[in-house]
């Protein structure tokens, strides 16, 4: 059980033990496996891993170097990666990491397993809308403003997709766009359920 204390990257930015902060666990897990996937194509140092990760997942938050090195340290401790070379030229020391056979098994297990569907907890949009309904404030206006915000983001992503040619980036953007579209459809359904007076239509 990992019990490191860290600042949660989630919106509340509180300090949690990694063993109890779901955001940290999920983020750490998916970053670890993504890095193992990059190392499966050949040894690399932290800088290259960060660059390749950010290029493969353009819609994801770019990795911080600290996060890359912390993840590599954990993977090394677990036997999934090893130090292949430590080069010291004129600049800072550069450690090249390589995938171990154990790391390959970890990666293959991850690739074989289907991910759980959800859960999709009530997020900020849902909380805000329901709070507005309970308070009798302008929930319909809130939904319309939120839709405009989502559509603006959808336009940015569609332009980005139209401009790009890399298949991996296109597929990653498809995923983000599909989720954004699901939110938009939820916003529209919620708006349709509300009568003009703000009461819920059932």
């Amino acid at each position: 059980m990992v019990s490191t204390w860290a600042r949660c990257p989630g919106p509340e930015e509180q300090f949690y033990s990694l063993s109890v902060c779901i955001v940290c666990i999920v983020t750490a897990m998916s970053v670890s496996h993504a890095l193992l996937g990059i190392l499966a194509q050949g040894p690399a140092h932290g800088y290259d891993l960060k660059r390749e990760h950010d290029s493969r997942f353009p819609a994801a938050k770019p990795l911080a170097y600290g996060q890359v090195y912390a993840t590599l340290a954990r993977l090394e401790r677990d036997g999934d990666v090893e130090i292949a070379e430590t080069a010291q030229g004129g600049g800072p020391e550069r450690t090249v990491y390589a995938l171990t056979p154990e790391g390959r098994r970890t990666l293959d297990d991850w690739l074989e397993q289907a991910e759980p569907a959800g859960p999709y907890p009530a997020d900020e949009l849902v909380r805000k809308t329901i709070t507005a309904l309970h308070l009798g404030s302008d929930a319909a206006g809130l939904l319309a403003r939120q839709r405009a915000q989502h559509m603006a983001r959808m336009r940015e992503l569609v332009s980005e997709k139209n401009a790009g040619s890399d298949l991996g980036a296109q597929i990653a953007l498809d995923h983000t766009i599909a989720h954004l579209d699901a939110d938009l459809r939820w916003l529209e359904t919620a708006a349709a359920r509300m009568a003009p007076n703000g009461k819920v239509r059932t």
Partner: protein, 226 residues
């Protein structure tokens, strides 16, 4: 300031007791791609039909290049529509008895072009939209995506100034829909034509320069995006 090519002012349209459009005012500029979105039954297709001169509103006016379109008699309105507008519907609506090439040549033949010139133009557009090899096929032999490309060729063959597309990707899967939209927007943009794109799909609407949202026959102010 951009030149307004098509506009409506306070347009109203009813079908029996149902009021489909309630005082809709809109301006479309040259070269602009406008998405019209909104729930089912909100009046999107009725607006498209009024804008394209297929339907006449009961009140308000529709102008094309400054000229009243809604008070033109049927024959000149049809001629203007055939010459200046291209229309693509959800299921292509090709004439089933005619070959693909004949379908595409049809608007030119109706305009009095000679048969050989119409065939050449039709073939060029079919080639351009990657369905030239289907020129002698009948519409019933085409996939949904192929039929939509043929319908797009038919809409573009007269060199229209405005293309109206009513759920053009509605019958296609995501990748097929994107490919059709790409060809629709690239061909119209390169010719400087305007597009009115009716859709309930936000991913399609996101390709437009501007979006208007219809709710119960009127624009939703909060849904209009600059």
């Amino acid at each position: 300031m951009s030149e307004v090519i098509l506009s409506t002012r306070a347009v109203e349209k009813s079908f029996g007791r149902t009021q489909a459009l309630r005082g809709v005012s809109l301006e479309l500029t040259r070269g602009e791609v406008l998405a019209v979105t909104g729930p089912s039954g909100s009046g999107k297709s009725t607006l498209l039909h009024c804008l394209s001169g297929i339907l006449r509103p009961e009140a308000g006016e529709v102008r094309y290049n400054g000229q009243r379109l809604d008070d033109l008699a049927e024959a000149p309105r049809t001629r203007l529509r055939r010459r200046e507008f291209g229309i693509v519907l959800q299921f292509g609506q090709l004439v089933p008895e005619l070959t693909v090439e004949q379908n595409v040549a049809l608007p030119l033949l109706l305009e009095g072009h000679d048969r050989s010139a119409a065939r050449t133009a039709a073939r060029a557009w079919l080639d351009r939209l990657d369905v030239g090899h289907l020129a002698i096929a009948l519409p019933g032999e085409l996939s949904g995506g192929e039929a939509q490309r043929a319908a797009l060729a038919r809409a573009l063959v007269t060199g229209p100034q405005v293309v109206f597309a009513d759920e053009p990707t509605g019958a296609l899967d995501t990748v097929g829909g994107e490919a059709l939209l790409d060809v629709l927007l690239s061909t119209t943009r390169e010719r400087g034509a305007s597009v009115v794109l009716v859709t309930h799909d936000n991913r399609v609407a996101a390709h437009a320069d501007r979006e208007v949202v219809l709710v119960d026959g009127a624009f939703s102010a909060a849904g209009v995006l600059a």
